[in-house]
Amino acid sequence: MMKKWLLASALSIGVAGLAGCNSGGDNEEAGTGSSSNADAEMDFPTQEVRIVIPYDPGGASDSHARAISEAIQNNDLLSENVNVVNLPGANTRNGLEEVLNADPDGHTVLLHHSTLNSMNAVNQIDISYEDYALIGQATYTPNVLVGSSDSEYSTYDEYLEAAKEDPGSISVGIPAVGSTAHLAYEAIAKASGGEDAFKVVPFQSGGDLITAHEGGQVDLRIASTPDAISYVESGDVIPLVSTSEGPHFDPLMEDAMTMSDFDFDQDVNVRFGLYAPKETPEEVVEKLEDTLEQVVETDEFQEFAENNGVEAKFLNKEEFTEINEDVQALFEDLSGNIDVDAEEQEAE
């Protein structure tokens, strides 16, 4: 009887000890043992790096994060594993707060996009890009306003004219109130003098909006390029306006009108970037910045961008911060008639 007790206690202590050694993060030995030269100079990373995305698996952010982590691991850019963690919930707040409050050692970073700026501008969330230490931009992609190919109108001007004659008769679907696409539409409307001409119908997701547009529920649809490109290709829709400054990078959409056609000097693109907790040390941020730059230059990432309707374009920390400031200012300006004005929540 006594022996059994000892055995049980020994087992328990053994497990606890084993677990204790491993606490603080996983150190998988599989495969990525080679350390790159840069690591020898500084002590980062020392455990697995986690890219947090505040969305469910299967979306654009998810694909980006996985592409980045694949590129890092396949090219041995960091000496530790890079894993993607999906933290959906509370309207992206769960994921955002997790990185906000994480240990600022660079092992937990956030992959997010311009929606952070837009949601903040319409007051859906009180976290802003300034609460993080920006690392850099990975890709960008314009939003595109598309119309059905079997409609009587085929250019934006025609739609605008019809809408001005009979306000509310032409409807525009937006994927989510407070999304970049929503504010992109507002930008187009403002730049072309078409505010209040169209009727705005909000949906809950890109997929819902696609269904609605294909089913004829709305006349126009604003969407990010990935959500639009396959439908332009199949001929179901015509691209009317691209929210890029110059012509759209994709040959299928380069004939669409652009923001500069409206004398609007900013673009409203969706920009995907990496963010780190605010207190992360300079050298760590720079290391991550360099890694991101290398990732964007890899063939596989370029291929990923091509296949997914985005343009791989690295912006370093300063450039990304500057762009964020501009974008935030623009969004604040545009959100005049959408202010959700959520209650001041206890900052958690």
Binding site: D56, N91, N94, I229, E303, N307
Partner: protein, 493 residues
């Protein structure tokens, strides 16, 4: 579709490593489905990172295999221990467990596995033959139609329980609870009670795990003095008796079509399909009162429908690039990462991939069936018949792990716990939790469609009643109410 091409691809897959991955994914799915607390979606999410290094067909096929296996595996625990292995097998417990208690567990399991097979095959046939046309059918459903469909669902489920009026009250309460969290249009926070646990609202899956698995654990604790939950299982047969199969043929067909159709509609999922199929089977039966006490047709309708949803959900995904449910949204991401562009041109641009998926789907269904009737039928009853003292803690831990893994939120575990307690008391006070379940599942979408519809119609409620399909479902709703009230009057006499 080219038949020779199909056969060639079949041979290719069978002779390559792809078949190994398909088997792996499917078996893992079945295991996840069989364990209460773990869901099919979880199996797919876990397998996702492992499929990146594989080629497109193998990778997506593994995930589809896990999905098929997961939904199919749910039947095991539903029948043998009365706890739904996955939320999609909830309606199977109504008749499956009573049948098992009568000693018919093995036959019922065999029938359930056959239903899984047939349901999947029906939806696969539709997928192969008329996917593009069916996808266009899905486009006919606008917020007006969806609102009416869901209204019909709420009323129908309230009618399934014994007490129509109380269930309606419960549904209203459920809709209010479903409104907690963030509103579907403006994403405004709604948390009237102010508990931080409810910041994200009440997600349906943890609540269901609580209501049906955890509460059953409590019930088994209270009632049980016996050592094992599972009733005695006699020798397992591979095929159910031919007569049973013949009798069920209409049910197979009807439930398969219902499941496929509901799967095609983006946003609605297995649970609604099983409720509708169950309800229809009950109405078509000569002995409707035996449903809920051990009528095999209840099991057949439920399991056929939930498998049929899988193929149905793939239709809008492959034909239009629109995900039909949570798992197809993950598959969409998987497709994009493989460099395939989902959208209307997928069928024409990537015919090899499409045929590969069809073949893989078929193989996965066969693997699932073979596994379940050979190994599964022998091992699962043995595993589940371990002493209650060990089984229940395992179920609890798996439920906690499963709930947590949905979104890595501790709140979900608390929700599961709270609803476990709620479910226990509902059982004690002879209350059916079904209306609560259906409203939690569909409530947020119902609100979105209702409000969106009103925006589209500029505030008019006319389209909800004048559009043909919406009107059809409204008529269904009214007819259901009339039938239920007539039934109630009959019972009182």
């Amino acid at each position: 579709m080219d038949f020779a091409n199909f056969v060639n691809t079949l041979i290719d897959i069978l002779t390559s490593s792809a078949i190994g991955y398909i088997i792996l994914g499917t078996v893992m799915g079945v295991i996840f489905g069989a364990i209460p607390g773990l869901t099919a979606t979880l199996a797919v999410v876990i397998l996702l990172p492992f499929t990146y290094g594989l080629d497109a067909v193998t990778g997506i096929a593994t995930l589809i295999g896990a999905y098929i296996g997961g939904i199919s595996g749910g039947v095991v625990a539903s029948i043998l221990i009365g706890m739904p292995g996955t939320p999609s097998s909830l309606t199977t417990t109504f008749d499956g467990y009573p049948l098992a208690k009568k000693g018919l567990g093995a036959q019922t399991l065999a029938m359930g596995s056959l239903s899984n097979l047939i349901g999947s095959l029906i939806s696969l046939v539709l997928l192969i033959l008329i996917a593009p046309q069916l996808a266009n059918f899905a486009l006919l459903f606008t917020p007006f139609e969806y609102t009416m469909v869901m209204l019909f669902a709420f009323v129908m489920v309230a009618g399934l329980t014994g007490d129509f009026y109380k269930s309606l009250l419960m549904s209203l309460l459920g809709l209010i609870i479903a409104s907690w969290g963030f509103d579907p249009i403006n994403a405004v926070e709604r948390n009237p009670l102010g508990f931080s646990v409810l910041n994200n609202g009440v997600p349906a899956i943890p609540a269901m795990i609580g209501l049906f698995v955890i509460s059953r654990v409590f019930i088994e604790m209270k009632d049980g003095d016996s050592d094992s939950i599972i009733p005695k299982v006699t020798a397992s047969k591979i095929l159910p008796p031919l007569k049973d199969i013949k009798d069920s043929s209409m049910n197979f067909f009807r439930s398969g079509i219902i499941g496929s159709m509901i799967g095609i509609l983006p946003g609605i999922g297995q649970s609604l399909a099983t409720f509708v199929a169950y309800d229809q089977a009950k109405k078509a039966s000569k002995d409707p009162d035996s449903f809920g006490k051990g009528n095999i047709q209840g099991v057949v309708s439920s399991e056929t429908a939930n498998n049929a949803v899988i193929g149905g959900a793939l239709i809008p995904l492959l034909a239009l690039g629109i995900p039909g449910d949570a798992v197809s949204a993950i598959l969409l991401g998987g497709l994009q990462l493989q460099g395939l562009q989902p959208g209307p041109l997928l069928f024409s641009n990537q015919p090899d991939f499409i045929i590969g998926i069809f073949v893989a789907f078929l193989l996965s269904v066969l693997v699932m069936y073979i596994f379940m009737v050979t190994i599964g039928a022998r091992i699962f009853p043995k595993l589940l018949s371990i002493s209650k003292w060990y089984l229940l803690p395992i179920v609890i831990v798996m439920s906690v792990a499963g709930s947590y893994n949905i979104g890595y939120r501790v709140e979900d575990v608390w929700i599961m716990l709270i609803f476990g307690i709620v479910g226990y008391f509902m059982y004690k006070w002879s209350f059916s939790p079904l209306p609560l379940v259906i409203t939690l599942l569909l409530g947020a979408d119902f609100e979105e469609y209702l409000r969106n519809g009103l925006i589209q119609s500029n505030g008019s409620i006319a389209p909800f009643f004048t559009r043909p399909i919406a009107l059809l479902f409204f008529i269904f709703t009214v007819v259901t109410v009339i039938l239920i009230m007539r039934n109630n009057r009959k019972k009182e006499v």
